[in-house]
């Protein structure tokens, strides 16, 4: 597959020392669903807007299907955007909104309307063509915005926090629908979000951003299972961080015991170990494991699906352990605060980061 979007050394400096995007190079394959993920102010939206042509970079270039479009205005790029609050034209009907960009391409009225109807079918709102945007619900407006953006068959579809304005239930539904739409139309999607769950469930590839730079770029599983930095480990999912000192090869001393890791840690010096709460488990009385820490249960938080237990390891260190509750009758397994507990975690589930990490 060929790269449809290539960003080369892209930077956006607002003032001398205010940096929006800092030297980002990225290549997106044709048909991929890529998510730019990061907290607000990490430059992900600015990056998207530079691809769309709404902002000019200070350095670097944007290539679309092999052509340098860095200085092309938005209306000369074969890229369409779904705006955060949809940006539907309030003085036009749904049909006119969708056909808006088609008439420009020299299409006559009837053909444009037919195309608009087709796009509405695709997003599952075939009967709304003559309504006005204000008559529709948030989820419906979202779909109209999608239909308007894909009706021109752009080379790339940009989505700026497309689900953030929806309520939780609607968001879950649109997540699946957006993914299906991507499979149906086969257009490259580049989405910006701050919601890690959205990124994990929808994307082929996630680009995690931190202060204008790419922190990690990879498949959702790779990023979740092998975060490149404590920042990524902390931003996607929950991670227990434990200050550690190297003991033997691949073994580290931590509060409450000693843990091994399969990850190639940095040579010497203080390190920080990390592991996911759901990848740790409590040992039953009498059971032993080579890779475990001991402590005392500090708090148990019930969240329906399961339990999150905070275990105090002494010396100010504590970890979370998640366990699902697949059976309503299991009561004895719920640990009581104050009781001693032993937590085991497999070496391949333990990350090693250089230096001290402030969780």
């Amino acid at each position: 597959m060929a790269a449809i979007i290539q960003l080369r050394g892209l930077s956006k400096h607002y003032a001398k020392h205010i940096i929006g995007v800092d030297d980002v190079s990225l290549s997106v394959e044709d048909g991929e669903f890529v998510t730019l993920l990061g907290p607000s102010g990490c430059g992900k939206s600015t990056l998207l807007r530079m691809i769309g042509g709404f902002e000019q970079p200070t350095h670097g270039s944007v290539h679309l299907a092999g052509r340098d479009v860095t200085w092309e205005p938005p209306y000369r790029r074969e890229v369409n955007m779904v705006f955060q609050d949809y940006a539907l034209f309030p003085h036009m009907t749904v049909g006119q909104n969708i056909a808006y960009g088609l008439k420009m391409a020299g299409m006559d009225r009837a053909a444009a309307r037919a195309k608009a109807a087709e796009a509405l079918d695709l997003v599952g709102l075939p009967d709304k063509i003559d309504q006005r945007p204000h008559q529709l619900s948030g989820g419906q407006r979202q779909r109209i915005a999608l239909a308007r953006a894909i009706v021109r068959r752009p080379k790339v579809l940009l989505l700026d926090e497309p689900l953030s304005a929806l309520d939780a239930r609607m968001r879950d539904q649109m997540r699946i629908e957006l993914k299906h739409l991507h499979e149906k139309v086969g257009i490259t999607f580049i989405m910006v979000t701050h919601d890690q769950e959205e990124a994990l469930t929808m994307s082929d590839r996630i680009v995690v951003m931190e202060r204008g730079r790419v922190a990690q770029d990879g498949r959702p599983q790779d990023i979740y299972d092998h975060p490149a930095s404590p920042y990524v480990a902390n931003f996607i999912g929950t991670t227990n961080f434990l200050p550690a000192t190297p003991a033997a090869a691949g073994r580290f001393r931590v509060a409450g015991g000693e843990l091994g890791s399969d990850a190639a840690g940095p040579a010497g010096g203080a390190v920080t170990l990390g592991f996911r709460p759901e990848k740790a488990r409590f040992l039953a009385p009498g059971e032993t494991a080579p890779n475990m820490v001991e402590g005392r249960v500090a708090e148990v938080i019930y969240y329906g699906l399961g339990l999150r237990t905070a275990v105090d390891l002494g010396g100010g260190a504590s970890v979370f352990v998640d366990c699902l509750l697949p059976d309503t009758l299991v009561r004895s397994a719920i640990p009581q605060p104050g009781t001693p507990a032993r937590v085991a975690v497999e070496p391949h589930n333990v990350f090693v980061f250089a230096g001290q990490v402030q969780p």
Binding site: F83, D85, A87, P90, G101, P133
Partner: protein, 288 residues
């Protein structure tokens, strides 16, 4: 009424404005309307119910001419204000990058409203007159040898003066309408392949229509009822309907005819207001 008695403060809040409107607006209108059917019997007026005054207004070419001239002058003042105000407001809202400059320029448009209306009209007399600034400049520049009187005492001077006086009422609603257009709509339009000029015609202009309608109505109605400008800078062909009404109530001493003229004027202004109101409501039917 029982509802009002139950709630004294509510009665006051609603009652005072209501009494005000009845006492100072509806009653005078009623008196004017009544007078418009009376007959002039020099030196006073005789109560009657007849349409003679209205017939005179619509058959005597003198009055028809003044009415048409007033409509023309008002339309030209509104058009001139729109032509000047729209680009200015557009620049302020979309092109001006500095918040401070925007605020100051907007204030500069509003500030003249603090100065007496009469004074602002009078200023143009000193600018356009034979001894005025414009003539002095032209003579200094060597473009004319003697002061010319072509600037003052004609319809052009009236349109210029009225435009200057009423243009803030065009800038304010247009500025507000433009400011309310979400910037991402113009971005979306560009994204969908429209050039900036096409975006202006298809998105910005239609969405600012309520502001244009409001500004046009305000400047039109204000110019329509003006009698200072014709008095100060208007020439022999500059008689407007308001000054004719003034004459009827003053030196001509024909209150019934003056009242009939006032009623005609009121009907015209009210039709324009309701027309623009409907236009505004239609174009905002989409909601923002």
């Amino acid at each position: 009424m029982t509802a009002l008695r139950r709630n004294l403060s509510g009665a006051l809040v609603l009652g005072i404005p209501l009494a005000w409107i009845v006492l100072f607006m509806l009653v005078p209108y009623g008196i004017i309307a009544t007078y418009s059917f009376w007959i002039k019997a020099y030196p006073t007026f005789k109560p009657a119910f007849q349409f003679g005054n209205y017939v005179t207004l619509f058959t005597d070419p003198q009055y028809v001419q003044v009415l048409l001239r007033t409509l023309k002058i008002s339309a030209l003042v509104s058009a001139a204000s729109l032509a000047l105000a729209y680009p200015f407001a557009y620049w302020l809202v979309f092109r001006c990058r500095w918040q401070g400059v925007r605020t100051w320029l907007y204030m500069a448009v509003i500030a003249p409203l603090w100065v007496s209306y009469l004074l602002r009209a009078y200023i143009w007399k000193t600018i356009l007159g034979t001894e005025g600034i414009l003539n002095s400049f032209l003579m200094w520049a060597g473009l004319t040898d003697a002061p010319t009187d072509i600037f003052l005492y004609n319809q052009f001077a009236m349109i210029l003066t009225l435009t200057y006086i009423f243009i803030p009422f065009m800038v304010m609603p247009i500025y507000t309408a433009l400011e309310r257009i979400p910037p991402n709509l113009t971005e979306a339009s560009a994204d969908l392949g429209m050039t900036p000029w096409q975006t202006f015609l298809k998105v910005t202009l239609p969405l600012s229509m309520p502001g244009i309608a409001a500004g046009f109505t305000l400047t039109f109605c204000l110019s329509f009822g003006d009698f200072i400008a014709p008095f100060l800078v208007g020439g022999p062909d500059g008689n407007l309907i308001a000054s004719v009404i003034q004459t009827q109530f003053g030196s001509a001493l024909n209150w019934p005819l003056g009242s009939a003229l006032s009623i005609v004027m009121l009907v015209i202004v009210l039709s324009i207001v309701s027309l623009s109101d409907r236009l505004e409501r239609n174009s905002t039917a989409g909601g923002a």
